[in-house]
Amino acid sequence: MIQQILFLLVAALGIGLFVWQVRKIRANILKGKDRVMGGSVSERINKTLLVAFGQQKMFKRITPALLHLVVYVGFLVINVEVIEIMIDGIFGTHRALSFMGPVYDVLMATNEILGALVIVAVVALWWRRNVQKVHRLSAGVEMRAWPRLDGNIILYVEIVLMTALFTMNTADLKLHQLEGVDLPGSFPISSLLVGLFPENVTALHALERVGWWLHILGILAFLNYLPSSKHFHIIMAFPNVYYTRLVPQGQFSNVDSITHEVKAMMDPSYQVPAGPVDADGNPVVQRFGAKDADDLSWLNLLNAYSCTECGRCTSVCPANITGKLLSPRKIIMDTRDRIEEKYESPLIFRPNQYNGEIGAESEDGSLVRGKVTPEELWACTTCNACVEACPVNINPLDSIVEMRRYLVLEESAAPHSLNVMFSNIENNGAPWAFSPSDRFNWAEELYVAEK
């Protein structure tokens, strides 16, 4: 009875805290500008099934894809056992799902095998991170102390959770063996481990409880660690993929306010619709492009909370490969750090301030120039490689273009040669300084050549 009350208290606390964190993050994301979505629901659901559930884009790289798949499937299946743990915790039952008979056998066996595979995969992932030092996981200014520690913490927690599970099962199994009764379920791994456990009934009872509590406490703690971590992607990947832009990647967004302005210039009778107004009915001064994180759209901010910091984007970025400052992953991580710097950080840990590292501190407290330098932004070739590479369909390019718009339209701060290009287009209708009257010269040469 006391255990049941304790369990309910802990679970309510853990889940409540998690909900509180998620609500704060939701509020942060909604600080972004509105965005018209378009696209059909069925198309979106398809994408989500394929990319988020189906891990489609992970399989561009086979080794990490398989390792990740094991952990991912393990996570999904072991959740069934977690449900049982919850039921047992609330009602004080023991192995509440065992009424399912043979199905339960299969379930427990699958769980155990996946659990063992998860441990193997996690060790391999740890190896890639810390011994092999895979370039994209360790290199880059954005991979400061916290992101690197975070990557490892997740792996350690997985090990602890799996160990707790096996401790619980093995102790339980041995208890039943000593008492000469059958434990429902089938435990291929734990039955190998029983030999390692003591013959003492009290100790086994204690071990079983320790395993049980460690597992459930671990899960609740981990749940509350998620929002501070790149591991938050296990939740965010789904809405993020669902809201993917469904237009061709080459199609950039339009700025509607500019469309109205241009139309009015070309046709004086054009009626410009009234712009947005604030609570007092005064027109809101709109900013072109994005200077700060909340000038971006909510989709860009959702992106920022979905990033797994895997660096696949950066590792295919032509600018980054050739040694330029630009790293699309940094753009995404900076956005997340900035929105939490500007609004209250909803997180228990403050990743962006860990170890005294606060990223680039904003001189004028904004995203552009504060964290992201114009040099990074101007290095982008808009090639879409980062967009293509991201396993959770994040679009760093979209944010980059918004920030360029700010630099050009609000600050007129484009590099000189681009300003020259702009004025060529304005005056000559071509980005080069050629006269429009020479536009047809190629045809004369054709004619000459044919003679």
Binding site: P248, C383, A414
Partner: protein
């Protein structure tokens, strides 16, 4: 186009030449090659000539949305004035902009990139790709333009065109959706690259050259290619070959790269239209 309109005629397609196609000396040769193909197969086409203006692509990618929309609206007015329905262009940037970004501003056309157009001509048998220069046994590698490939999912059309040439097609390790940019997109064409270890076009040219040379060792450890998606290791080549492109900016970038590597004598950069034209005996 104005002449045609004056005669009350309507072309089958409007050939959108693009600024590079009209002004860049190297790409003017591509424009002419494409026009020769059009005339050869008897497609009724027209060009806007002096009435054409920049699509606004470089302005938009550089963040100058205002200038972009001015250009776009102007061009839409011109195109609509002639009641244009179908546009073909050799520039993936013009293609992408007119196809994807003009509709929101009121410009709706069927837009075809010349690689797709050439593929159709070949499929229909209107272009035979024989009778002129033979590419049998020559090594060709195709460099995907970002604005054709990733931006618009066109990967097969240019490859089909090259396959029709009967050449020895070799794929770079980073190709199709994993292709590496030539370094010119997003208005980079008009500015110096930011400081770094090397320029993007050099990195890409090195990869193309190594592929043509069949030098697989040089292709190991490319960033961004971890495993799984690598093409078959190409057999040793003789150091000669062709880098095929389908974009004026890729053309400039790859040509500069080949020059930088001092390989102009053995490796040439050609646009699809030029390859088809010369295979057809329509030499410029």
């Amino acid at each position: 186009m104005a002449d045609l309109a004056a005669r009350g005629e309507q072309p089958e397609v409007l050939f959108w030449v693009g600024c590079a196609g009209a002004f860049d000396d190297r790409y003017k040769r591509v424009t002419r090659a494409f026009v020769r193909i059009l005339e050869h197969v008897g497609v009724k086409y027209a060009v806007l000539g002096m009435e054409e203006s920049c699509t606004g692509d470089p302005a938009k990618r550089a963040g100058n949305e205002f200038l972009f929309q001015m250009q776009a609206m102007q061009n839409i007015t011109t195109l609509d004035g002639y009641a244009i329905k179908t546009i073909v262009t050799a520039c993936p940037h013009c293609f992408n902009t007119i196809k994807n970004e003009y509709p929101a501003l009121g410009g709706n056309y069927e837009v075809i990139h010349h690689s797709t157009f050439l593929q159709q001509l070949i499929n229909e048998g209107r272009v035979k790709v024989q009778g002129g220069e033979s590419y049998k046994g020559r090594r060709i590698t195709f460099h995907d333009s970002c604005y054709l490939g990733r931006a618009n999912d066109i990967y097969e059309a240019p490859r089909d065109v090259l396959a029709a040439l009967d050449a020895d097609l070799v794929e770079m390790k980073r190709s199709k959706a994993n292709g590496l940019c030539c370094g010119a997109g997003g208005a980079q064409m008009w500015k110096e690259p930011e400081p770094g270890k090397k320029d993007i076009n050099i990195e890409r040219t090195e990869e193309a050259l190594a592929t043509l040379d069949g030098n697989a060792a040089a292709l190991e450890n490319l960033y961004g290619v971890e495993s799984g998606n690598a093409g078959a290791t190409p057999a040793k080549g003789n150091g000669n070959g062709i880098i095929a492109v389908s974009c004026p900016f890729c053309m400039t970038m790859m040509s500069d790269g080949v020059k930088n590597k001092e390989r102009e004598s053995s490796v040439q950069v050609f646009d699809l239209a030029e390859l088809v034209a010369s295979a057809e005996g329509l030499n410029a």
